[in-house]
Amino acid sequence: MEPLIRINDLVIHFSTFDGIVKAIDGINLDIYEGEAIGLVGETGCGKSVTSLSIMKILAPNALLKNGEIMYRGKNILEFSEDEMSNIRGGEFSMIFQHPLRALNPTMKIKDQIFESLILHEKNLLLKKAIKKVDDENPEKSLALLNMYKNLLETELENPDSFKLKILSRIPIIKKYKEYLKDDETIIEMLTKTDIANPGTVIEQYPHELSGGMRQRVMIAMALSGEPKLIIADEPTTAVDVTIQAKILRLIQNLMAKFNTSLLLITHNLGIVAEICERVAVMYAGTIVEVCDVYTLFENPVHPYTLGLINAVPVIGEKKILRDIKGSVPDFLEPPTGCRFHTRCASAMAVCSEKKPELVEIEKGHLVACHTFKEDA
């Protein structure tokens, strides 16, 4: 089965004052339709950069050194900004870690949701708007109303029409856009996310809501375009533990409805266990292991993954917590060959010379480690 997204050999560097930061050093990842795949790793290993690359929202000093991201047979890294704009929020959408920071503090919730809606559900809004004009009180100027209706219909059928471009700039006539703002639709969207009192919420500002509510608003916005892929960057880290489970369930339910894929970025293995089917483990800008979630916990193979799993305390089990010796490498001068070799107990000579490729050692289980080259 062809994956929805295939990342091939992606290499991304950042140019900074201190030198070139080799943040992503050749990653390969497949994301299939409808699956929930986790991307785990320590803080700073490059998970967020990966997700931002898929959305193509990297900082201005990012350098794409190599690689491609294939989506529907095309390399999205070559897309123009306009083409990406269309995809973002629509086919791909993203949920951020800190919803307070991710929402515009000076805009009401309804306006922010409206922004998403008008981009990705425009026709729906237009049809509703036309209906509203029809239902409008005939006391108002009939000519004006007809004009509004005409403009709305033109937008629906012929959005690039010249007439539209000119007329939509004239002050009074511009008012036809007001009809597009449909509180009902917005409330509908919020209700889908199990938020309480959506009617009140839409009139509020982000700082007036609780963390869980803000996250739900973000989810509502992310789903407005019936996305094929949702990238969730640590969606539960900033939320209370009690809400975390609810948010996760919510994401799962909504995914099921539209058969959306989920790329869940986190350093919390517990969440991975809850919701992911497959997991990719990332270390220092490389993917070191990819397997299904059961294998991850029961039979991980890469030394780093082993270290991770061993470091997680398990309730009810008396276990010695082992941490991994050493610390995250410097991205300016990363270790040669395999980036983990300086901390690896099973390091061999070849590990410092050559970077290991991701090879499939059994069905659905890939590892990038020289210790497996021997076993065919």
């Binding site: 959305m55 929202i57 900004e81 704009s85 269309n86 995809i87 973002r88 929020g89 629509g90 959408s93 993203m94 951020f96 800190h98 920071r101 991710a102 929402l103 515009n104 503090p105 000076t106 922004e115 998403s116 981009l119 990705h120 500002y205 700082h207 007036e208 973000m218 916005m221 375009g225």
Partner: protein, 332 residues
């Protein structure tokens, strides 16, 4: 909301304290420059009357008592007599010069605000490209340009072209006391042109100097907002960069910008001493310069107190305004 009220009250008291402190400073200065009674008499006052005035203002009492009576006099508007303006009351003299300065302030702001917004946006959009460099050069030029040098250059260039009037004569009825508005109200077109010429020199200087500052501050403000998470989120929603720049970045960056404008306004009202002197524009700055050079202490000190209080109050108003405008702050 309660936190807001407490903040306002605190701010109010703080401003009051500063104004009181200022008045003490001014008082101390007024008593350190010769015989204080000189500020209240003119050359024709007979000797016995001088004694009476001395008693009236309690000038024979100890300093701290003098201070209270001085405050009393100030609150009545009695700052003494202005030596350089025919011994008229200082307050009256100051009042006469206010409208001219206010007029300049109004026009400067009208030009400055949209221009700095537009230039800042362009600088941010094309960061580190030509536009950005040009604005940076303008900013440095504006900051480092001594006002009077620039003013003299403008005078040198524009005066021969008859675009500047240094001693205009107006025929129309003074209604607002601001030449351009009065001319329009009187439908005196020739007078209006004359009034504009009167305004042009200082206007160009003020706009240039202030624009340099506001433009770059707005740019910094916008850049700060540009790298915030909500802008990245906006991108992730599929919003276009142009839309984000205006509706997200600029709109949010305008909030601190507004407070800056408020403070600029206070500075402008306080009179641009140098540009008014160069172009002979009879506003508060001109008055201050003249009074200082001619050693007209009552006027100088009166101006100091009045202008200082205006600054303090403007700052207070701007602070409060900021609290109302920024929804982030409402929650306390």
């Amino acid at each position: 909301m309660r936190k807001l009220h407490i903040y306002i009250i605190k701010g109010f008291f703080h401003s009051l304290l500063v104004i009181v402190g200022l008045s003490i400073l001014v008082f101390a200065l007024s008593r350190s420059a010769g015989d204080p009674v000189a500020g209240y008499v003119d050359p024709y006052t007979p000797l016995y009357q001088i004694e009476q005035i001395r008693i009236k203002y309690h000038l024979d009492k100890p300093l701290y008592i003098q201070y209270f009576y001085w405050l009393q006099a100030i609150s009545r508007g009695d700052f003494g007599l202005s030596r350089i303006y025919m011994y008229r009351p200082v307050w009256y003299t100051i009042q006469r010069f206010v409208p001219i300065t206010v007029e300049l302030a109004i026009y400067t702001l009208i030009i400055m605000i949209p221009t700095s917004l537009w230039l800042a946006t362009k600088s941010v959009k094309h960061k580190d490209k030509t536009v950005d460099h040009i604005t940076r050069l303008i900013a440095i030029a504006g900051r480092s340009m001594p006002t009077f040098f620039f003013g003299i250059i403008i005078l040198m260039i524009l005066y021969p072209l008859k675009l500047i009037a240094v001693a205009p004569v107006f025929d129309f009825q003074p209604i607002t006391n601001m030449p351009t508005f009065d001319a329009l109200l009187n439908r005196d077109w020739a007078g209006f042109i004359e009034a504009v010429k009167y305004l042009l020199g200082p206007l160009i200087v003020q706009v240039f100097i202030n624009l340099a500052l506001t433009m770059r501050i707005m740019r910094s403000s916008m850049l700060e907002e540009l790298y915030q998470d909500y802008v990245t989120m906006g991108l992730a929603k599929g919003l276009s960069r142009d839309y984000l720049l205006i509706k997200y970045v600029r709109r949010n960056a305008m909030i601190p910008f507004i407070t800056l404008i408020g403070i600029q306004f206070a500075y402008l009202v306080n009179g641009s001493v140098i540009s008014e002197t160069i172009f002979n524009r009879k506003g508060l700055g001109f008055l201050a310069a003249r009074a200082a050079t001619q050693l007209d202490h009552p006027t100088v000190l009166g101006l100091a107190l009045v202008l200082g209080s205006t600054m303090v109050l403007t700052n207070l108003v701007v602070d409060i305004l900021y609290l109302y405008i920024d929804p982030r702050v409402e929650a306390g």
